[in-house]
Protein backbone atom coordinates (compact mmCIF):
# COMPACT_ATOMS: atom_id res chain seq x y z
CA UNK A 1 0.00 0.00 0.00
CA UNK A 2 2.84 2.38 0.83
CA UNK A 3 4.38 1.80 -2.56
CA UNK A 4 1.10 2.91 -4.15
CA UNK A 5 1.69 6.38 -2.81
CA UNK A 6 5.47 6.41 -3.22
CA UNK A 7 6.56 9.87 -4.17
CA UNK A 8 8.78 10.00 -7.20
CA UNK A 9 10.59 13.15 -6.09
CA UNK A 10 13.86 11.33 -5.86
CA UNK A 11 14.01 10.59 -9.56
CA UNK A 12 15.00 7.04 -8.77
CA UNK A 13 14.15 5.81 -12.23
CA UNK A 14 16.45 8.30 -13.92
CA UNK A 15 19.32 7.32 -11.62
CA UNK A 16 18.77 3.67 -12.45
CA UNK A 17 18.72 4.48 -16.16
CA UNK A 18 21.98 6.45 -15.90
CA UNK A 19 23.67 3.56 -14.12
CA UNK A 20 22.31 1.23 -16.81
CA UNK A 21 23.78 3.52 -19.50
CA UNK A 22 27.18 3.39 -17.82
CA UNK A 23 27.01 -0.42 -17.73
CA UNK A 24 26.17 -0.36 -21.44
CA UNK A 25 29.24 1.83 -22.03
CA UNK A 26 31.33 -0.69 -20.14
CA UNK A 27 30.17 -3.45 -22.46
CA UNK A 28 30.71 -1.28 -25.57
CA UNK A 29 34.24 -0.48 -24.47
CA UNK A 30 34.92 -4.16 -23.89
CA UNK A 31 33.66 -4.98 -27.41
CA UNK A 32 35.72 -2.16 -28.96
CA UNK A 33 38.89 -3.25 -27.16
CA UNK A 34 38.29 -6.87 -28.17
CA UNK A 35 38.03 -5.74 -31.79
CA UNK A 36 41.12 -3.49 -31.63
CA UNK A 37 43.20 -6.16 -29.90
CA UNK A 38 41.85 -8.77 -32.31
CA UNK A 39 40.56 -11.06 -29.59
CA UNK A 40 37.33 -10.79 -31.57
CA UNK A 41 36.49 -10.11 -35.20
CA UNK A 42 35.31 -6.46 -35.56
CA UNK A 43 32.59 -7.52 -38.00
CA UNK A 44 31.30 -10.16 -35.59
CA UNK A 45 30.54 -7.59 -32.87
CA UNK A 46 29.21 -4.87 -35.18
CA UNK A 47 25.54 -5.67 -34.63
CA UNK A 48 25.91 -5.69 -30.86
CA UNK A 49 27.87 -2.43 -30.71
CA UNK A 50 25.35 -0.63 -32.94
CA UNK A 51 22.43 -2.03 -30.95
CA UNK A 52 24.02 -0.85 -27.68
CA UNK A 53 24.68 2.59 -29.16
CA UNK A 54 21.03 2.86 -30.20
CA UNK A 55 19.97 1.75 -26.73
CA UNK A 56 22.11 4.50 -25.18
CA UNK A 57 20.61 7.14 -27.47
CA UNK A 58 17.09 5.92 -26.74
CA UNK A 59 17.70 5.97 -22.99
CA UNK A 60 19.12 9.49 -23.18
CA UNK A 61 15.94 10.66 -24.93
CA UNK A 62 13.79 8.84 -22.37
CA UNK A 63 15.66 10.53 -19.53
CA UNK A 64 15.11 13.96 -21.07
CA UNK A 65 11.38 13.26 -21.42
CA UNK A 66 11.13 11.91 -17.89
CA UNK A 67 12.89 14.97 -16.48
CA UNK A 68 10.54 17.25 -18.36
CA UNK A 69 7.49 15.33 -17.11
CA UNK A 70 8.92 15.45 -13.59
CA UNK A 71 9.27 19.22 -13.84
CA UNK A 72 5.75 19.68 -15.22
CA UNK A 73 4.12 17.48 -12.59
CA UNK A 74 5.96 18.69 -9.50
CA UNK A 75 6.11 22.36 -10.45
CA UNK A 76 7.71 24.54 -7.82
CA UNK A 77 8.66 21.53 -5.68
CA UNK A 78 11.07 20.26 -8.32
CA UNK A 79 14.76 20.02 -7.58
CA UNK A 80 15.78 21.86 -10.76
CA UNK A 81 19.46 21.63 -9.90
CA UNK A 82 19.28 17.85 -9.83
CA UNK A 83 17.30 17.80 -13.06
CA UNK A 84 19.86 19.95 -14.85
CA UNK A 85 22.67 17.81 -13.45
CA UNK A 86 21.00 14.65 -14.78
CA UNK A 87 20.56 16.23 -18.22
CA UNK A 88 24.28 16.93 -18.25
CA UNK A 89 25.21 13.47 -16.94
CA UNK A 90 23.03 11.73 -19.55
CA UNK A 91 24.82 13.66 -22.30
CA UNK A 92 28.24 12.72 -20.87
CA UNK A 93 27.37 9.03 -20.73
CA UNK A 94 25.95 9.12 -24.24
CA UNK A 95 29.21 10.69 -25.45
CA UNK A 96 31.24 7.94 -23.72
CA UNK A 97 29.18 5.43 -25.72
CA UNK A 98 29.88 7.36 -28.91
CA UNK A 99 33.64 7.24 -28.31
CA UNK A 100 33.43 3.50 -27.62
CA UNK A 101 31.71 3.08 -30.98
CA UNK A 102 34.37 5.28 -32.59
CA UNK A 103 37.07 3.02 -31.15
CA UNK A 104 35.32 0.05 -32.70
CA UNK A 105 35.17 2.03 -35.99
CA UNK A 106 38.99 2.13 -35.91
CA UNK A 107 39.08 -1.64 -35.67
CA UNK A 108 36.52 -1.89 -38.44
CA UNK A 109 38.82 0.26 -40.63
CA UNK A 110 41.59 -2.29 -40.12
CA UNK A 111 43.46 -0.85 -37.13
CA UNK A 112 45.06 -3.64 -35.12
CA UNK A 113 46.83 -2.90 -31.82
CA UNK A 114 47.51 -6.57 -31.03
CA UNK A 115 50.92 -6.28 -32.67
CA UNK A 116 53.51 -3.53 -32.54
CA UNK A 117 56.09 -2.24 -30.08
CA UNK A 118 53.52 -0.48 -27.86
CA UNK A 119 51.05 -3.38 -27.70
CA UNK A 120 51.44 -3.91 -23.95
CA UNK A 121 51.26 -0.19 -23.16
CA UNK A 122 48.04 0.19 -25.15
CA UNK A 123 46.68 -2.91 -23.48
CA UNK A 124 47.43 -1.33 -20.09
CA UNK A 125 45.65 1.91 -21.06
CA UNK A 126 42.62 -0.10 -22.14
CA UNK A 127 42.61 -1.82 -18.77
CA UNK A 128 42.76 1.54 -16.99
CA UNK A 129 39.89 3.02 -18.95
CA UNK A 130 37.77 -0.13 -18.54
CA UNK A 131 38.41 0.05 -14.81
CA UNK A 132 37.59 3.75 -14.75
CA UNK A 133 34.18 3.12 -16.34
CA UNK A 134 33.40 0.44 -13.74
CA UNK A 135 34.59 2.55 -10.80
CA UNK A 136 32.72 5.62 -12.06
CA UNK A 137 29.55 3.55 -12.31
CA UNK A 138 29.96 2.39 -8.72
CA UNK A 139 30.83 5.84 -7.34
CA UNK A 140 27.88 7.41 -9.16
CA UNK A 141 25.45 4.65 -8.15
CA UNK A 142 26.48 4.76 -4.48
CA UNK A 143 26.99 8.55 -4.47
CA UNK A 144 30.45 8.23 -2.95
CA UNK A 145 31.28 11.91 -2.83
CA UNK A 146 34.59 11.47 -1.04
CA UNK A 147 35.77 9.04 -3.73
CA UNK A 148 35.16 11.70 -6.39
CA UNK A 149 37.82 13.95 -4.86
CA UNK A 150 40.34 11.11 -5.15
CA UNK A 151 39.30 10.02 -8.62
CA UNK A 152 39.16 13.27 -10.52
CA UNK A 153 42.79 14.34 -9.88
CA UNK A 154 43.91 10.90 -11.06
CA UNK A 155 41.75 11.16 -14.15
CA UNK A 156 43.22 14.60 -14.88
CA UNK A 157 46.71 13.11 -14.64
CA UNK A 158 45.73 10.36 -17.06
CA UNK A 159 44.16 12.86 -19.44
CA UNK A 160 47.42 14.80 -19.52
CA UNK A 161 49.27 11.58 -20.23
CA UNK A 162 46.90 10.69 -23.12
CA UNK A 163 47.22 14.24 -24.52
CA UNK A 164 51.01 13.98 -24.47
CA UNK A 165 50.82 10.66 -26.32
CA UNK A 166 48.46 12.14 -28.89
CA UNK A 167 50.75 15.14 -29.48
CA UNK A 168 53.72 12.81 -29.73
CA UNK A 169 52.06 10.72 -32.47
CA UNK A 170 50.80 13.78 -34.35
CA UNK A 171 54.37 15.11 -34.52
CA UNK A 172 55.85 11.66 -35.10
CA UNK A 173 57.88 10.72 -38.20
CA UNK A 174 56.36 7.23 -38.09
CA UNK A 175 54.25 6.20 -41.10
CA UNK A 176 50.69 7.51 -41.03
CA UNK A 177 49.26 3.99 -40.77
CA UNK A 178 51.14 3.64 -37.47
CA UNK A 179 50.92 7.16 -35.96
CA UNK A 180 47.44 8.27 -37.02
CA UNK A 181 45.46 5.41 -35.37
CA UNK A 182 47.44 5.93 -32.17
CA UNK A 183 46.88 9.68 -32.14
CA UNK A 184 43.17 9.05 -32.63
CA UNK A 185 43.17 6.29 -30.00
CA UNK A 186 44.70 8.58 -27.36
CA UNK A 187 42.30 11.36 -28.27
CA UNK A 188 39.34 9.01 -27.85
CA UNK A 189 40.39 7.54 -24.52
CA UNK A 190 41.17 11.04 -23.28
CA UNK A 191 37.63 12.12 -24.19
CA UNK A 192 36.13 9.04 -22.51
CA UNK A 193 38.05 9.88 -19.33
CA UNK A 194 37.03 13.54 -19.55
CA UNK A 195 33.33 12.71 -19.91
CA UNK A 196 33.52 10.32 -16.96
CA UNK A 197 35.22 13.05 -14.96
CA UNK A 198 32.46 15.50 -15.94
CA UNK A 199 29.89 12.99 -14.81
CA UNK A 200 31.59 12.67 -11.44
CA UNK A 201 31.51 16.44 -10.93
CA UNK A 202 27.70 16.13 -10.69
CA UNK A 203 28.20 14.48 -7.28
CA UNK A 204 30.29 17.22 -5.72
CA UNK A 205 30.11 20.46 -7.71
CA UNK A 206 27.40 23.13 -7.76
CA UNK A 207 25.29 22.99 -10.92
CA UNK A 208 26.92 26.06 -12.47
CA UNK A 209 30.32 24.39 -12.07
CA UNK A 210 29.38 21.02 -13.55
CA UNK A 211 32.31 19.77 -15.70
CA UNK A 212 34.63 22.31 -14.01
CA UNK A 213 36.14 20.51 -11.05
CA UNK A 214 37.93 22.49 -8.39
CA UNK A 215 38.12 20.97 -4.94
CA UNK A 216 37.92 24.31 -3.16
CA UNK A 217 34.65 25.12 -4.99
CA UNK A 218 33.01 21.74 -4.30
CA UNK A 219 29.74 21.64 -2.37
CA UNK A 220 31.39 19.60 0.38
CA UNK A 221 34.50 21.82 0.53
CA UNK A 222 35.22 23.09 4.00
Amino acid sequence: MFSLFRDAQQLENVETQLVGMLETCSRMFELAVGALMRTSDPAAVADEIFALDKELNRTEREIRRELLVHGSVWGAEVDYGLMLAYMSVAKDVERVGDYCKNLWNLADLGVDFSTGPDQSEIQEHFREVAELIVVTTKVFRDQEESAVHELIPEIEKDEKHYDDHMAQFIRSDEPGTFAAPRAILYRYIKRISAHLSNLLTSLVMPVDRLDFYKKSKAIDAE
Partner: protein, 387 residues
Protein backbone atom coordinates in the same frame (compact mmCIF):
# COMPACT_ATOMS: atom_id res chain seq x y z
CA UNK B 1 46.08 4.93 -14.32
CA UNK B 2 46.12 4.76 -10.57
CA UNK B 3 44.00 2.80 -8.22
CA UNK B 4 40.43 4.06 -8.54
CA UNK B 5 39.10 2.25 -5.50
CA UNK B 6 37.08 4.74 -3.50
CA UNK B 7 37.43 5.31 0.20
CA UNK B 8 34.82 4.04 2.62
CA UNK B 9 31.54 3.44 0.89
CA UNK B 10 28.72 5.81 1.65
CA UNK B 11 25.36 4.09 1.90
CA UNK B 12 22.74 5.32 -0.59
CA UNK B 13 20.44 7.97 0.83
CA UNK B 14 17.30 6.12 1.95
CA UNK B 15 13.77 7.41 1.44
CA UNK B 16 13.01 9.88 4.25
CA UNK B 17 11.33 7.78 6.95
CA UNK B 18 8.46 10.21 7.50
CA UNK B 19 7.45 10.60 3.86
CA UNK B 20 4.74 7.91 4.10
CA UNK B 21 3.40 9.42 7.30
CA UNK B 22 3.04 12.60 5.29
CA UNK B 23 1.08 10.71 2.67
CA UNK B 24 -1.37 9.26 5.17
CA UNK B 25 -1.77 12.59 6.94
CA UNK B 26 -2.57 14.23 3.62
CA UNK B 27 -5.08 11.53 2.75
CA UNK B 28 -6.80 12.12 6.09
CA UNK B 29 -6.76 15.85 5.40
CA UNK B 30 -8.34 15.19 2.01
CA UNK B 31 -11.16 13.24 3.63
CA UNK B 32 -11.59 16.03 6.17
CA UNK B 33 -11.75 18.69 3.46
CA UNK B 34 -14.17 16.56 1.44
CA UNK B 35 -16.43 16.72 4.47
CA UNK B 36 -15.86 20.49 4.74
CA UNK B 37 -16.73 20.77 1.03
CA UNK B 38 -20.05 18.99 1.56
CA UNK B 39 -20.77 21.16 4.62
CA UNK B 40 -20.05 24.20 2.41
CA UNK B 41 -22.56 23.02 -0.19
CA UNK B 42 -25.14 22.44 2.56
CA UNK B 43 -24.48 25.91 4.09
CA UNK B 44 -24.89 27.53 0.68
CA UNK B 45 -28.09 25.61 0.04
CA UNK B 46 -29.50 26.46 3.48
CA UNK B 47 -28.43 30.11 3.26
CA UNK B 48 -30.06 30.67 -0.13
CA UNK B 49 -33.15 28.80 0.93
CA UNK B 50 -33.56 31.09 3.93
CA UNK B 51 -33.47 34.28 1.87
CA UNK B 52 -36.97 33.73 0.61
CA UNK B 53 -38.40 33.04 -2.87
CA UNK B 54 -38.78 36.70 -3.91
CA UNK B 55 -35.13 37.59 -3.38
CA UNK B 56 -33.96 34.46 -5.10
CA UNK B 57 -36.25 35.00 -8.09
CA UNK B 58 -34.86 38.52 -8.52
CA UNK B 59 -31.28 37.26 -8.18
CA UNK B 60 -31.61 34.65 -10.87
CA UNK B 61 -34.01 36.48 -13.17
CA UNK B 62 -31.00 37.75 -15.18
CA UNK B 63 -29.92 34.22 -16.05
CA UNK B 64 -33.36 32.83 -16.80
CA UNK B 65 -32.55 32.73 -20.51
CA UNK B 66 -30.49 29.61 -21.37
CA UNK B 67 -27.94 31.68 -23.34
CA UNK B 68 -27.52 33.99 -20.34
CA UNK B 69 -27.08 30.96 -18.09
CA UNK B 70 -24.43 29.64 -20.46
CA UNK B 71 -22.61 33.00 -20.45
CA UNK B 72 -22.88 33.23 -16.65
CA UNK B 73 -21.33 29.77 -16.37
CA UNK B 74 -18.39 30.88 -18.55
CA UNK B 75 -17.84 34.14 -16.67
CA UNK B 76 -18.19 32.67 -13.20
CA UNK B 77 -15.66 29.95 -13.99
CA UNK B 78 -13.21 32.37 -15.62
CA UNK B 79 -13.38 34.58 -12.53
CA UNK B 80 -12.86 31.79 -9.99
CA UNK B 81 -10.56 29.79 -12.32
CA UNK B 82 -12.22 26.56 -11.30
CA UNK B 83 -15.10 24.73 -12.92
CA UNK B 84 -15.28 22.56 -9.80
CA UNK B 85 -16.20 25.59 -7.67
CA UNK B 86 -18.76 26.78 -10.23
CA UNK B 87 -20.43 23.44 -10.83
CA UNK B 88 -20.57 22.51 -7.17
CA UNK B 89 -22.08 25.93 -6.41
CA UNK B 90 -24.62 25.38 -9.19
CA UNK B 91 -25.43 22.00 -7.67
CA UNK B 92 -25.85 23.71 -4.28
CA UNK B 93 -28.24 26.25 -5.84
CA UNK B 94 -30.23 23.51 -7.51
CA UNK B 95 -30.26 21.67 -4.19
CA UNK B 96 -31.75 24.77 -2.57
CA UNK B 97 -34.46 24.71 -5.22
CA UNK B 98 -33.62 28.19 -6.53
CA UNK B 99 -32.11 27.10 -9.81
CA UNK B 100 -33.97 24.78 -12.16
CA UNK B 101 -32.44 22.06 -14.28
CA UNK B 102 -33.21 24.05 -17.45
CA UNK B 103 -31.00 26.91 -16.20
CA UNK B 104 -28.37 24.88 -14.38
CA UNK B 105 -27.47 22.63 -17.31
CA UNK B 106 -26.52 25.53 -19.67
CA UNK B 107 -24.55 27.05 -16.76
CA UNK B 108 -22.62 23.83 -16.37
CA UNK B 109 -21.93 23.84 -20.12
CA UNK B 110 -20.59 27.38 -19.73
CA UNK B 111 -18.39 26.27 -16.85
CA UNK B 112 -16.87 23.70 -19.21
CA UNK B 113 -15.79 26.49 -21.55
CA UNK B 114 -14.64 28.82 -18.77
CA UNK B 115 -12.35 26.26 -17.19
CA UNK B 116 -10.17 26.04 -20.28
CA UNK B 117 -8.81 29.55 -19.71
CA UNK B 118 -6.31 28.21 -17.17
CA UNK B 119 -4.51 26.08 -19.75
CA UNK B 120 -4.65 28.92 -22.27
CA UNK B 121 -3.07 31.30 -19.77
CA UNK B 122 -0.44 28.66 -18.95
CA UNK B 123 0.49 28.59 -22.65
CA UNK B 124 1.32 32.31 -22.51
CA UNK B 125 4.34 31.41 -20.39
CA UNK B 126 5.96 30.10 -23.58
CA UNK B 127 5.36 33.23 -25.64
CA UNK B 128 9.09 34.06 -25.85
CA UNK B 129 9.92 31.22 -28.23
CA UNK B 130 7.79 30.86 -31.35
CA UNK B 131 7.98 27.09 -31.85
CA UNK B 132 7.39 26.40 -28.14
CA UNK B 133 4.51 28.85 -28.03
CA UNK B 134 2.86 27.43 -31.14
CA UNK B 135 2.83 23.94 -29.64
CA UNK B 136 1.76 25.15 -26.17
CA UNK B 137 -1.05 27.34 -27.48
CA UNK B 138 -2.36 24.62 -29.79
CA UNK B 139 -2.35 22.16 -26.85
CA UNK B 140 -4.28 24.62 -24.68
CA UNK B 141 -6.78 25.79 -27.27
CA UNK B 142 -7.65 22.30 -28.51
CA UNK B 143 -9.41 21.94 -25.16
CA UNK B 144 -11.14 25.33 -25.65
CA UNK B 145 -12.37 24.45 -29.11
CA UNK B 146 -13.54 20.98 -28.23
CA UNK B 147 -15.65 22.37 -25.38
CA UNK B 148 -16.99 25.21 -27.54
CA UNK B 149 -17.90 22.79 -30.34
CA UNK B 150 -19.59 20.46 -27.85
CA UNK B 151 -21.66 23.43 -26.64
CA UNK B 152 -22.46 24.52 -30.21
CA UNK B 153 -23.89 21.06 -30.92
CA UNK B 154 -25.45 20.14 -27.57
CA UNK B 155 -26.69 23.49 -26.25
CA UNK B 156 -29.40 23.93 -28.96
CA UNK B 157 -30.41 20.28 -28.53
CA UNK B 158 -30.68 20.81 -24.79
CA UNK B 159 -32.74 23.99 -25.17
CA UNK B 160 -35.03 22.49 -27.82
CA UNK B 161 -35.43 18.93 -26.56
CA UNK B 162 -33.70 18.69 -23.19
CA UNK B 163 -31.32 16.25 -24.87
CA UNK B 164 -28.75 16.22 -22.06
CA UNK B 165 -31.04 16.69 -19.06
CA UNK B 166 -33.45 13.95 -20.17
CA UNK B 167 -30.66 11.42 -20.24
CA UNK B 168 -29.50 12.74 -16.85
CA UNK B 169 -33.00 12.38 -15.38
CA UNK B 170 -33.13 8.77 -16.58
CA UNK B 171 -29.71 8.04 -15.15
CA UNK B 172 -30.50 9.75 -11.85
CA UNK B 173 -33.64 7.61 -11.51
CA UNK B 174 -31.33 4.59 -11.27
CA UNK B 175 -30.15 5.98 -7.92
CA UNK B 176 -33.64 6.31 -6.44
CA UNK B 177 -33.46 5.33 -2.80
CA UNK B 178 -29.71 4.76 -2.96
CA UNK B 179 -28.19 8.22 -2.46
CA UNK B 180 -28.93 10.71 0.29
CA UNK B 181 -30.05 13.37 -2.20
CA UNK B 182 -32.68 11.11 -3.69
CA UNK B 183 -33.68 9.15 -0.63
CA UNK B 184 -36.24 9.81 2.09
CA UNK B 185 -33.85 8.61 4.78
CA UNK B 186 -31.02 11.15 5.10
CA UNK B 187 -28.60 8.48 6.31
CA UNK B 188 -25.46 8.99 8.40
CA UNK B 189 -23.47 10.90 5.76
CA UNK B 190 -26.14 13.49 5.26
CA UNK B 191 -26.77 13.78 8.98
CA UNK B 192 -23.06 14.38 9.51
CA UNK B 193 -23.15 17.12 6.85
CA UNK B 194 -26.25 18.76 8.28
CA UNK B 195 -25.13 18.77 11.91
CA UNK B 196 -22.63 21.68 11.75
CA UNK B 197 -24.96 23.70 9.50
CA UNK B 198 -27.84 23.10 11.95
CA UNK B 199 -25.57 24.17 14.80
CA UNK B 200 -24.58 27.42 13.05
CA UNK B 201 -28.20 28.16 12.15
CA UNK B 202 -29.17 27.45 15.76
CA UNK B 203 -26.58 29.92 17.05
CA UNK B 204 -27.92 32.69 14.79
CA UNK B 205 -31.49 31.93 15.79
CA UNK B 206 -30.60 32.03 19.48
CA UNK B 207 -29.02 35.44 18.87
CA UNK B 208 -32.10 36.61 17.02
CA UNK B 209 -30.13 37.13 13.78
CA UNK B 210 -32.39 35.07 11.52
CA UNK B 211 -32.31 37.67 8.72
CA UNK B 212 -28.50 37.84 8.65
CA UNK B 213 -28.13 34.08 8.97
CA UNK B 214 -28.99 33.46 5.30
CA UNK B 215 -26.35 35.84 3.94
CA UNK B 216 -23.72 34.63 6.40
CA UNK B 217 -24.41 30.99 5.52
CA UNK B 218 -24.07 31.80 1.81
CA UNK B 219 -20.75 33.53 2.45
CA UNK B 220 -19.57 30.73 4.68
CA UNK B 221 -20.67 28.12 2.13
CA UNK B 222 -18.74 29.79 -0.71
CA UNK B 223 -15.63 30.19 1.44
CA UNK B 224 -15.80 26.56 2.57
CA UNK B 225 -16.26 25.34 -1.02
CA UNK B 226 -13.26 27.38 -2.21
CA UNK B 227 -11.07 26.45 0.72
CA UNK B 228 -11.91 22.76 0.69
CA UNK B 229 -11.52 22.30 -3.08
CA UNK B 230 -8.21 24.16 -2.97
CA UNK B 231 -7.01 21.96 -0.13
CA UNK B 232 -8.31 18.72 -1.68
CA UNK B 233 -6.47 19.58 -4.89
CA UNK B 234 -3.29 20.55 -3.04
CA UNK B 235 -3.22 17.45 -0.84
CA UNK B 236 -4.17 15.00 -3.56
CA UNK B 237 -1.67 16.51 -5.96
CA UNK B 238 1.05 15.86 -3.40
CA UNK B 239 -0.17 12.31 -2.80
CA UNK B 240 -0.57 11.26 -6.42
CA UNK B 241 2.20 13.25 -8.12
CA UNK B 242 4.34 10.13 -8.39
CA UNK B 243 1.48 8.27 -10.05
CA UNK B 244 0.75 11.24 -12.32
CA UNK B 245 4.37 11.26 -13.38
CA UNK B 246 4.32 7.53 -14.10
CA UNK B 247 1.02 7.80 -15.99
CA UNK B 248 2.28 10.64 -18.20
CA UNK B 249 5.47 8.71 -18.90
CA UNK B 250 3.30 5.74 -19.91
CA UNK B 251 1.17 7.77 -22.32
CA UNK B 252 4.36 9.25 -23.77
CA UNK B 253 5.36 5.71 -24.65
CA UNK B 254 1.99 4.60 -25.96
CA UNK B 255 0.67 7.79 -27.53
CA UNK B 256 -2.88 8.93 -28.13
CA UNK B 257 -6.16 7.08 -27.71
CA UNK B 258 -8.46 5.68 -25.09
CA UNK B 259 -5.54 5.05 -22.73
CA UNK B 260 -4.62 8.74 -22.75
CA UNK B 261 -8.28 9.64 -22.18
CA UNK B 262 -8.41 7.28 -19.21
CA UNK B 263 -5.24 8.84 -17.80
CA UNK B 264 -6.82 12.31 -18.06
CA UNK B 265 -9.96 11.05 -16.36
CA UNK B 266 -8.24 9.27 -13.48
CA UNK B 267 -5.75 12.10 -12.82
CA UNK B 268 -8.52 14.67 -12.74
CA UNK B 269 -10.69 12.60 -10.43
CA UNK B 270 -7.66 12.27 -8.15
CA UNK B 271 -6.80 15.97 -8.01
CA UNK B 272 -10.37 17.24 -8.52
CA UNK B 273 -9.26 19.78 -11.08
CA UNK B 274 -9.18 19.54 -14.85
CA UNK B 275 -7.16 22.77 -14.90
CA UNK B 276 -4.31 21.07 -13.03
CA UNK B 277 -4.30 18.16 -15.47
CA UNK B 278 -4.40 20.27 -18.62
CA UNK B 279 -1.94 22.86 -17.30
CA UNK B 280 0.57 20.10 -16.63
CA UNK B 281 0.31 19.04 -20.26
CA UNK B 282 1.00 22.50 -21.70
CA UNK B 283 4.75 22.66 -20.87
CA UNK B 284 5.19 19.11 -22.14
CA UNK B 285 3.46 20.03 -25.38
CA UNK B 286 5.53 23.22 -25.59
CA UNK B 287 8.73 21.19 -25.29
CA UNK B 288 7.44 18.90 -28.03
CA UNK B 289 7.47 15.68 -26.00
CA UNK B 290 3.66 15.46 -25.98
CA UNK B 291 2.00 15.76 -29.36
CA UNK B 292 -1.31 17.50 -29.87
CA UNK B 293 -2.91 14.16 -30.71
CA UNK B 294 -1.90 12.90 -27.24
CA UNK B 295 -2.86 16.05 -25.33
CA UNK B 296 -6.30 16.09 -26.94
CA UNK B 297 -7.67 12.80 -25.47
CA UNK B 298 -6.09 13.55 -22.07
CA UNK B 299 -8.01 16.86 -22.02
CA UNK B 300 -11.22 15.04 -22.94
CA UNK B 301 -10.65 12.58 -20.11
CA UNK B 302 -10.08 15.55 -17.80
CA UNK B 303 -13.42 17.00 -18.93
CA UNK B 304 -15.18 13.87 -17.71
CA UNK B 305 -13.02 13.50 -14.61
CA UNK B 306 -13.79 17.00 -13.35
CA UNK B 307 -17.51 16.16 -13.18
CA UNK B 308 -16.81 14.09 -10.07
CA UNK B 309 -16.87 17.29 -7.99
CA UNK B 310 -20.47 18.12 -8.90
CA UNK B 311 -21.43 14.48 -8.31
CA UNK B 312 -19.90 14.67 -4.84
CA UNK B 313 -21.63 18.00 -4.18
CA UNK B 314 -24.98 16.41 -5.01
CA UNK B 315 -24.51 14.11 -2.00
CA UNK B 316 -25.09 17.11 0.26
CA UNK B 317 -28.15 18.39 -1.58
CA UNK B 318 -31.75 17.82 -0.50
CA UNK B 319 -33.26 18.23 -3.92
CA UNK B 320 -32.95 15.22 -6.29
CA UNK B 321 -32.54 17.70 -9.18
CA UNK B 322 -29.04 18.43 -7.85
CA UNK B 323 -28.03 14.90 -8.77
CA UNK B 324 -29.68 15.32 -12.18
CA UNK B 325 -27.58 18.43 -12.86
CA UNK B 326 -24.40 16.71 -11.67
CA UNK B 327 -25.13 13.75 -13.94
CA UNK B 328 -25.99 16.16 -16.76
CA UNK B 329 -22.46 17.56 -16.44
CA UNK B 330 -21.00 14.08 -16.92
CA UNK B 331 -23.48 13.26 -19.69
CA UNK B 332 -22.68 16.46 -21.58
CA UNK B 333 -18.97 15.69 -21.57
CA UNK B 334 -19.48 12.05 -22.55
CA UNK B 335 -21.82 13.03 -25.38
CA UNK B 336 -19.24 15.56 -26.59
CA UNK B 337 -16.65 12.79 -26.77
CA UNK B 338 -19.07 10.41 -28.50
CA UNK B 339 -19.93 13.04 -31.10
CA UNK B 340 -16.45 14.31 -31.91
CA UNK B 341 -13.89 11.69 -31.02
CA UNK B 342 -14.76 8.35 -32.71
CA UNK B 343 -15.02 9.72 -36.28
CA UNK B 344 -11.54 10.83 -37.44
CA UNK B 345 -12.90 13.66 -39.62
CA UNK B 346 -14.82 15.19 -36.70
CA UNK B 347 -12.03 14.45 -34.24
CA UNK B 348 -9.68 16.49 -36.40
CA UNK B 349 -11.85 19.66 -36.31
CA UNK B 350 -10.77 21.04 -32.87
CA UNK B 351 -7.17 20.04 -33.61
CA UNK B 352 -7.17 21.87 -36.94
CA UNK B 353 -8.73 25.03 -35.45
CA UNK B 354 -6.28 24.94 -32.51
CA UNK B 355 -3.29 24.55 -34.85
CA UNK B 356 -4.53 27.43 -36.99
CA UNK B 357 -5.11 29.66 -33.95
CA UNK B 358 -1.65 28.86 -32.61
CA UNK B 359 -0.08 29.59 -35.99
CA UNK B 360 -1.85 32.95 -36.23
CA UNK B 361 -1.11 33.74 -32.56
CA UNK B 362 2.59 32.97 -33.00
CA UNK B 363 2.78 35.40 -35.94
CA UNK B 364 0.62 38.15 -34.44
CA UNK B 365 0.91 38.18 -30.66
CA UNK B 366 -1.69 40.91 -30.24
CA UNK B 367 -4.37 38.54 -31.50
CA UNK B 368 -3.73 36.24 -28.53
CA UNK B 369 -5.03 38.91 -26.17
CA UNK B 370 -7.97 39.49 -28.52
CA UNK B 371 -8.73 35.77 -28.45
CA UNK B 372 -8.55 35.42 -24.66
CA UNK B 373 -10.39 38.61 -23.78
CA UNK B 374 -12.94 38.11 -26.56
CA UNK B 375 -13.64 34.45 -25.93
CA UNK B 376 -13.71 34.47 -22.15
CA UNK B 377 -14.93 37.98 -21.29
CA UNK B 378 -16.42 40.02 -24.13
CA UNK B 379 -18.62 37.34 -25.72
CA UNK B 380 -20.20 36.13 -22.44
CA UNK B 381 -20.73 39.72 -21.22
CA UNK B 382 -22.34 40.71 -24.54
CA UNK B 383 -24.59 37.63 -24.38
CA UNK B 384 -25.59 38.51 -20.81
CA UNK B 385 -26.50 42.03 -21.90
CA UNK B 386 -28.52 41.09 -24.97
CA UNK B 387 -30.44 38.36 -23.29
Amino acid sequence: MGDHRPRDQVAPDPTPPLSHVGTWARLLLTVLFLYVFLVGIKALERGIGSLGAGFVDDLFATVAHPLAALAAGVLATVLVQSSSVTTSTIVGLVGAGVLGIETAVPMVMGANIGTTITGTLAALGHVRQNAFFRRAFAAATVHDYFNILAVIVLFPLEVAFGAVSRIAVELASLFDGLLPGVSDDPGPVKRAIETPVDAITGIFESLGWERAAGSILIGLGVVLIFLSLWQITTQMRWVVSGQIEAAINRILGKGAGAGAMLVGLVLTVAVQSSSITTSMLVPLAAAGVLTLSTVYPVALGANVGTTITALLASVAADNPDALVVAIAHTTFNLLGILIFYPIPMLRRIPVAIAEWTAEVGARRRGLIAVYIIGMFFVVPIVILFIT
